[in-house]
Amino acid sequence: MTDILLPSLGPEMESGKLLRWLVKPGDIIHKGTIIAVVDTTKSAIDVESWHAGRVEALLVQPGDVVAVGTTILRLAGAAEPLAAPAAPTAPAAMTAPPAAVTLPQPSAGGEHVRASPAARKRAAELGVALARLTGTGPDGAITVGDVNAAVPPPPATPPATSSAPEDRRAGVRAAIAASMARSHREIPHYYLWDECDVSRALQWMQQQNAARPVDQRLVLAALLAAAVARAAREFPDMNGTYENGQFHSGAAVNLGVAVALRGGGLIAPAIVNAHALSLDQIMQQLSDLVRRARSGGLRSSEVSGQTLTITQLGDEGVQGILGIIHPPQVALIGIGTPRERALAVDGQVMVRTCVTISLSADHRVSDGRRGAQFLNRIAALLQEPEKL
């Protein structure tokens, strides 16, 4: 028997609303099968299974709001006969108030107060002192439930069925607020920026596009994403996550791309394994991600596990952006608007198209010299666009 839990679909996600099941008891699913659509307040996300097997029971109903970590689906074990009926082994879970489910987390330990990472995060958001609480988790560890119990209950249960645009916008803002406030509170940022000459990159791109049908054309954002992904592979201290007091370098570059949502707010789905993709593949994925971020259909594997994020405001007319890192990542690249500049090149003043590329980085993991080298590498890669 294998339980499939509601995954965290972003660092700020506490719970999700099941919109609909895409499988039913008796179905055989594989790793990667999309099993359900879950609303995370930011977006409707297709949840994939990380396990294979036969669906034994669906443990939550469409419309239910459940905490991250809640068992939502049970697979029959490999040892069980396939003909076994889908016994309702967990009726209580189907009828229990979804929001009351406590996130099962292993104890973090290692500090003077034992608490799960989720409980620490929740306590910080609610302003609850962990030292004042009594833990009910393993070995007395404080759980999210303990933290939630320490504050007065909200006036109403979470909005289980509302999806009005104003509620969606409020949800998006609340999610962004939680994530950005945490980042601002926990991450000692440093910022670097420089102007990068992208004239060659633009010229090369225009030559390429002149010979391509519209559905195969490139945009500058794809070249920039490719350069950042290549550089990040060479700078592992810019690509990874910082959790529980430790930095974990990413095994791959899962490049989050900040996409502005049409109703306001943003989401940063990942181009998974961006370092290993060709420029055309990056363009294709970028185009697909932007489309699905705005119209629905992002997958769970795309909205979690980012190792570095790029945010581009090139269409908004600003010179540059000094962004806030998306925790638990350790760096963020910001891109401003391409502008013509009078640059001195080899003793001559020339008009070149430049963009301001900025780095926001976590000082717990890297320092300014290293960050400067990272930025310089991105700029150098953009001087040889044909090699991206």
Binding site: N209, D215, S287, R291
Partner: protein, 93 residues
């Protein structure tokens, strides 16, 4: 309304419908084809590309990148697409 005007209106309706698949708020707005499109709706470079891909799928016309700057208004787009969509004028028999 002349035949040419009616054709333009039909073409504009098709363009707006394609645009709405990228920017659904277009359905709620009164877009003025004589004004720059990006002053009326939020349309980033990826939206713009998706819009042009949609036009190709719908009308079979591949707008060259070199023309992008000349098509800031929907009227410009109609003027560009009109002869391509309607094809060469029929020769008198």
């Amino acid at each position: 309304m002349s035949q040419a005007d009616a054709g333009d209106s039909q073409l504009l309706a098709q363009i707006l419908d394609t645009l709405a698949s990228v920017a659904p708020e277009v359905r709620e707005l009164d877009i003025d084809p004589a004004l720059p499109l990006r002053e009326q709706i939020e349309l980033d470079s990826m939206d713009h590309l998706h819009f042009l891909v949609g036009l190709k799928q719908r009308l079979g016309v591949d707008v060259p990148e070199a023309q992008y700057q000349r098509m800031r208004k929907l009227d410009d787009l109609v003027a560009y697409l009109r002869p391509v969509v309607s094809g060469p004028p029929a020769k008198p028999g």
